[in-house]
Amino acid sequence: MGVIRENWRIAALVVIMLASTFALFGPIGGGAGMQTELVTLSEDENTLTVDESTFFLENTTVELTNESTNEIVATDATIDIDGDVRNVTDTSAVVANGTIDVRGGSVVSPTNTSVITATNESIAVSGEATLRTENSSVDLSVERQQDSGLTNLQYGLDLSGGTRIRAPIVGLHVTDLSIGDQPQLASDLAAALDTDEINVQVRPRDGVVEVYDGAVNKSEFASALQSAGFDVQTSDVQTGVTSQTRDTVVNTLQGRIDQTGLSGGSVATAGDGLVVVEVPNTRPEQVRNIVTDRGIVRIIAEVREPGGNTTNTTVITGDDIAGTSPIGQRQGGAWEAPVRLTDSAAQDFQRQMNDLRFTENPGNCDRARGSGAGSYCLLTMLDGELIKANGLSLGFADSLGQGTWSDRPEFTIGASTSGEAQDIKLSLDVGSLPTTLDLGQGAQYDVSYIEPSYAQSFKPLSVITGLLAWFAVAGMIFLRYKKVQVALPMLFTAIAEVYILLGFAAISGLALDLSHIAGLIAVIGTGVDDLVIMADEILQEGDVATGRVFQSRFRKAFWVIGAAAATTIIAMSPLTVLSVGDLFGFAVITIVGVLVGVLITRPAYGDILRNLVLSEDQR
């Protein structure tokens, strides 16, 4: 026991290194997530074996046949097809109007159903089937149990690839208003600001008014509020949105990314009110759309009276939807997103359809027709854009007219393409964004994309770079001290610091980026510097005759090391608060590294030296 008590610093180092080993290689940490990989099926290289994985086909045409050598073997797999699946030559792999059936796995298309409704032709993958690309290459994103390699380390955008968008949220807000009972306030403000009413939010209880329209500036907002009777100056208008709205935006974006099947995507807020969206394996244009589309679905009843008057009434909004079903194709090629309305919304819709005389004019929808004849159309609007115009079908009009439809309020939202139908369903499932991220002129944003294979090649290369830097240090240390018993523990201690830091990264779930790698190499540098200070101090001329002399030299060396560590921490701390690009990670690693060094590894090196220079009874 005495030995351990004397060498408790070494013992502490050993314990912490064991803990780091456990963190890096043990069954803990957040490393067990799912990860998406991109696989390209092209003319010549088309075999994909899916094992305990999910694969997604998006907006592509696939053929399932048995004749090709390009095969997809799905065992214990989940298959999610979002796109057009064609009936093909070899019917052994095709079941028209059937279901997809994967042995030992589950089917997610789009959610919780075994029926593929991406088309009216479905496929069975039982036994062996093959997947062939048609005239072009197809990118498949394959979701697998995260193959985190040897360690529990997680890698950020620089080292794993994908897209990251950092951007502020579109909006202006005023707080501390005393808003009485003014139900018309939102629409009045919208009219004054010449914007849609959905872009104005009034929360009387919090005393907050927000506007989500990039075209509205602060003074316009202030004067609109002044006309509404509030004592508000331009300087009272704040850029950005309230934290409540920001949370909604973050949650909705996260939901959208999860539902789109872009696995591993994350949404978080950063300093300066920025939102950071990271999606592995996805191209920037796709992520741009995710963060800039509001996803507002509305059904508008457009009535063109024979006299020429046109009236638009919003009859269904996202709030009226109780649930959705998988999208499907209609006779004639159009697409639809089936939904179920809430009971009260169903009653309203039924009443409005009767009031607006839609029930008397089934199938009468022709927007191109001249003003002479009447036209009754239900317009599907997504983010203010017309997606499709439909008339009421005869049967639908009947049940609405008899008032029986609201007993089973199922409705299909029309769309022209499967992509639109899917977008509508997604928007209804996840909810719309109150406002979007600002990627406009003058906004403070950045969008980065790194090709996954390219980013991942940095992993081994940066390990080699770090190792070579360490060898260079080792060479210098050997040349300087020429004593293996001084130099070896020094190099061991320096690498131990990096090891403990990696353990820290694994256990805290820190996603490693290039800036962290730079920080790790910096830690090797400062670490060795401090060990040189200790070695020189303790091994200086004149024997370390007693334990007391050793203690005094150790303390002197530690004064310098502590002072140097304190300056490094002070120098790096601004970067942990200010947002300067990606330097946050670099600063954190450097600071933690210095702390690990001062508190754990460098004292342990002192103990190692003491064992080397003092004989048994001198200690």
Binding site: D158, R166, E285, Q441, G442, Q444, Y445, D446, V447, S448, Y449, I450, E451, Y454, A455, S462, T465, L468, A469, A472, V473, M476, L479, R480, L514, S515, A518, A522, I524, G525, T526, V528, D529, V532, I533, D536, Q540, K556, W559, V560, A563, A564, A566, T567, T568, I570, A571, M572, S573, P574, L575, L578, S579, V580, G581, D582, L583, F586, A587, T590
Partner: protein
């Protein structure tokens, strides 16, 4: 066998003025270069894409520079800001001034049409870049002031403390001066990136180490001035030279592997640490010697 021994310098032969003059001249020239660059370009150093905004794409499988100019010539509205070849590879980094998503799509299409492989693509708005610039400058100033305050608290006397602060200041200014010199003469184009900012901050930490060590040995230890100096140098020069070797290795290896960020950091640190050798053992030392033999006596 090669040996690494720290030479004992006969400081007696030089006056304080002789010792302090060369580092001060180098510092003066650096400050002059920074001012000249500022007057000519409106920024204290050549600012890279991290600070100016725009769109940067990294292309692989490019046959030549001319192929890039052809590909992004007609049909792409966006103006090419710079084309940089990644050392020893068929990879190029092309910077455009645009941040418009339509124009970026046109760039992507043009790259695809020319058979280039887009390895990475980053778009930064100018507003984001200018926030980066402000925060980076502010961070540097806060770090420097914090470090200075700590040094004054540690040594509690003016001359030794200011000696550390001045030589740390010079360590930061000299690399910026060198970058400006290279840019002004048009030799090599190194631009300030986030990596260089990180390196400058790291220099504060690194450079102060050897200064603290020197001050500590001379002011707080027994033994003659020159004995203490030599001991501090043995340790300090080993530290700094080791760091320089590590950083040279990192820079070269990262350049060969075409890894981003690391070469920027390495290069600035190599220049800064070399400057630190000069500043610590000439400027700082002369101030300390004056303080020890004349300042204290007064």
């Amino acid at each position: 066998m090669v040996e690494f021994e720290v030479p004992e310098i006969d400081y007696d032969r030089y006056s304080n003025r002789q010792l302090a003059t060369p580092p001060l001249i180098v510092l003066g020239v650096s400050l002059l270069l920074i001012s000249v660059y500022y007057l000519l370009n409106g920024t204290p150093a050549p600012l890279g894409f991290d600070f100016t905004g725009g769109t940067e794409i990294r292309l692989a499988e490019v046959s030549s520079r001319a192929a890039i100019q052809d590909a992004f010539g007609p049909g792409v509205d966006a103006e090419i800001e710079s084309i940089r070849q990644v050392q020893g590879t068929g990879e190029y980094i092309v910077t455009f001034l645009t941040q418009d998503s339509g124009e970026i799509q046109a760039i992507r299409d043009a790259a695809g049409g020319a058979g280039f492989d887009i390895q990475a693509e980053t778009t930064r708005s100018p507003a984001f870049g200018s926030t980066n610039t402000q925060n980076a400058l502010f961070g540097l100033v806060v770090a420097f002031v914090g470090m200075s305050a700590l040094i004054f608290v540690l040594f509690r006397s003016f001359v030794p403390s200011i000696a550390v602060v001045v030589s740390a200041f010079s360590d930061i200014m000299i690399p910026i001066g060198v970058v400006n010199l290279l840019a002004l003469t048009g030799l090599i184009e190194i631009k300030m990136t986030l990596g260089t900012i990180a390196a400058l901050l790291m220099l504060i930490g690194y450079s102060v180490d050897s200064d603290i060590l020197l001050n500590n040995h001379i002011l707080r230890r027994r033994g003659s001035f020159y004995e203490s100096t030599f001991r501090a140098m043995q340790t300090g020069v080993t530290m700094t030279v080791t760091s320089i070797v590590a950083m040279i290795t990192m820079t070269i290896v990262a350049l060969v592997f075409a890894i981003d960020l690391l070469p920027d950091i390495g290069l600035i640190l190599v220049i800064g640490l070399a400057a630190d050798l000069m500043n610590t053992y000439m400027l700082n030392l002369s101030l300390l010697r004056w303080y020890k033999f004349e300042g204290v006596a007064r």
